[in-house]
């Protein structure tokens, strides 16, 4: 198992796209250095002010780049499954005394672990910079490494399913793009936007149904931000207060995403174990 994970890392490192990915991260980090420098120059601030600014920078950063980071991570790892399934590669892998579920899980964990380390690098540096520049060490922010990796892991289960069934990297990326940037955001604001336009009950039901089934990468970000800002989190249902325009996220989004991910992986393992290669 470790061997496959290690090889997945090698594969990731061998990918040209990986370099672009890290250059992007480095630019983000440098940008943060610059930005926070400006703040510090402005003069003496109270700790409370600094705390508020740090929180603002952190949550603002996630609002802008959360989905992008997930999508970047998906692009750089999307080819793992199709390339593993190529004729002449998969034959040899299966001929080894390792069970098929183990092969697939190792591949999945390899990708997740790789993204986790990238997040440690990216978010860790951002945290360090923010903490050094202000006097405020925001340890809750470090939790976002786990949340972001979790959001990735959930979305990557879709990559595994589409990769296994279509054996095409392009389709895999397109499906994920559609989910992350189109369908999931729409579903999460369906009550405020879609339902005010549509009155048909069946359509509403379909939207609700999809919302509860599909993963919610955006709302996982909202959980992260709520934790940073120490805001309340609902247990079961995310809600939008129309008067104050404040959105309160719920733990349910994370739980249903996790269930979705488990279901996808269970199906992947079943599919992979039965298939002829």
């Amino acid at each position: 198992m470790l061997t496959i994970i290690k090889n997945t890392f090698r594969e990731a490192l061998a990918k040209k796209i990986f370099i672009g990915y890290y250059i992007f991260y480095a630019i983000v980090v440098l940008f943060m250095v610059f930005l926070v420098n400006m703040d510090a120059v402005e003069g003496v601030m109270s700790l409370a002010d600094e705390k508020a600014i740090v929180h603002q920078v952190e949550t603002g950063f996630f609002l802008l780049s959360w989905n992008l980071i997930i999508f970047f991570s998906l692009i750089s790892t999307a080819s793992f499954i199709p390339s593993m399934l190529e004729k002449g590669t998969i034959d040899l892998l299966i001929s080894k005394p390792i069970s098929r579920p183990m092969i697939l899980l190792s591949k999945y964990l390899g990708a997740v672990l790789f993204v986790f380390l990238s997040m440690v690098f990216l978010l860790g540096s951002i945290w360090l910079i923010l903490s050094l520049k202000s006097a405020y060490w925001d340890f809750t922010f470090l939790l976002s490494i786990l949340w972001l990796t979790f959001a990735f892991a959930v979305m990557y289960s879709i990559v595994v399913v589409t990769g296994l069934t279509t054996q095409s990297t392009v389709i895999t990326i397109l499906v994920n793009f559609f989910l992350i940037f189109v369908l999931c955001p729409i579903l999460s604001i369906r009550e405020a936007v879609v339902f005010s336009l549509v009155t048909n009950e069946t359509v509403k039901f379909i939207f609700d149904f999809l919302y509860y089934i599909l993963p919610k990468p955006g709302e996982i970000r909202d959980i992260t931000n709520a934790m940073i800002l120490n805001e309340p989190i609902n247990v079961w249902k995310s809600s939008l207060n129309t008067e104050t325009q404040t959105f309160t996220v719920s733990w349910m989004s994370a739980i249903s995403s996790f269930i979705f991910c488990s279901a996808m992986m269970a199906y992947s393992i079943y599919y992979f174990s039965k298939k002829d290669y």
């Binding site: 061997t3 590669t89 034959d91 299966i94 005394p97």
Partner: protein, 310 residues
């Protein structure tokens, strides 16, 4: 106990969108014993690769079952002592030759210790790839890839080795080296299962062969038995044959070829004995009587032709 055993294996592929079915294997039952080099022959598309894939649980049979080392192939533990060289194998091309061996060796369950490193070096040396050890395999030639693939398949010292056209793309010297390696492995008691189109090679190294055509087993047996042409004999005599005698021989078998000290007949055992009686009556001493052999290639072509007609 046989190392490989199959019972009534059948495999149907349903091809794409059409309802048409391809029978890659029909009711295939056979076994391979320990220490044998077994050759599976057959024209393109006969189902040879399909059989190996079923034996390694890469593909699942439609009906029937298969065992290796007495364990059902669906159990991945059955593959603990198995090596495999797939046809058109592909290694991750971002690895070097050494890393490829290390990766697949670890997957075969080898422990990463000094002995493991030594074994890798030993095999690279054996395949004459030592100087390419640190080179990314993208830069390898076809023959080099093939040799690396073979090294990979025998790395963990498996007891059973499946080779799907191992000499494909390898030059004549390399092929000879590979044959020597296989014979060496056999002498260590390993069982080898070989798919090949190069019949002369198969003839040189295999103990037993099976010929597969369109998914059917059409012939199986020891190489020596199969290549004995049934009714062709040669008699060598000490004394030369005179014309009178030659005519008497032609009276027994009009197609016989009679030379100075040699008679060839294709007319069966009875006529052979009649000719021998005749010679002995004429006080001709017989030096030897031998059954002619045909090459595996001749046999193969005949068998496939016959099968395609029927």
């Amino acid at each position: 106990m046989p190392v490989i055993e199959t019972q009534n294996l059948s495999k149907e592929y349903s091809s794409g969108f059409s309802k048409q079915k391809v029978n890659a294997l029909n009711d295939f039952s056979f076994s391979v014993n320990e220490g044998e080099i077994f050759g599976l022959l057959g024209p393109n598309g006969a189902g040879k690769t399909t059989l190996i894939k079923i034996l390694l649980a890469i593909t699942f049979p439609t009906r029937g079952n298969a065992k290796i080392f007495g364990t059902d192939v669906r159990n991945h533990k059955a593959k603990a002592k198995v090596g495999y060289l797939p046809e058109n194998h592909r290694f991750p091309n971002y690895l070097t030759g050494e890393q490829v061996l290390s990766f697949y060796g670890r997957l075969s369950g080898m422990k990463p210790n000094d002995a493991f490193k030594k074994r890798i070096d030993e095999l690279l040396e054996l395949m004459k790839l030592t100087q390419w050890k640190q080179t990314k395999i993208k830069k390898y030639s076809k023959g080099m890839m093939q040799k690396l693939g073979l090294a990979q398949s025998i790395l963990s010292e498996p007891d059973l080795i499946f080779l799907d056209e191992p000499t494909d793309g390898v030059d004549p010297i390399g092929r000879k080296e590979i044959r020597d390696i296989l014979i060496e492995l056999k002498s260590k008691g390993k069982t080898i299962f070989l798919n090949s189109h190069l019949l002369s090679e198969v003839e040189m190294i295999c103990d037993r062969v099976a010929i597969l055509n369109k998914g059917d087993l059409v012939k199986e047996g020891n190489v020596d038995d199969l290549t004995k042409a049934e009714n062709i004999f040669a008699i060598h005599t000490v004394e030369p044959l005179n014309i009178e005698l030659k005519q008497k021989i032609l009276a027994i078998d009009s197609n016989a070829g009679a030379g100075e000290n040699e008679i060839n007949t294709e007319a069966g055992v009875d006529n052979l004995n009649k000719i021998i009686d005749l010679l002995r009556k004429n006080k001709i001493r017989i030096q030897s009587v031998s059954q002619k052999t045909s090459t595996l290639e001749e046999l193969f072509i005949n068998v496939i032709k016959k099968d395609n007609i029927s």
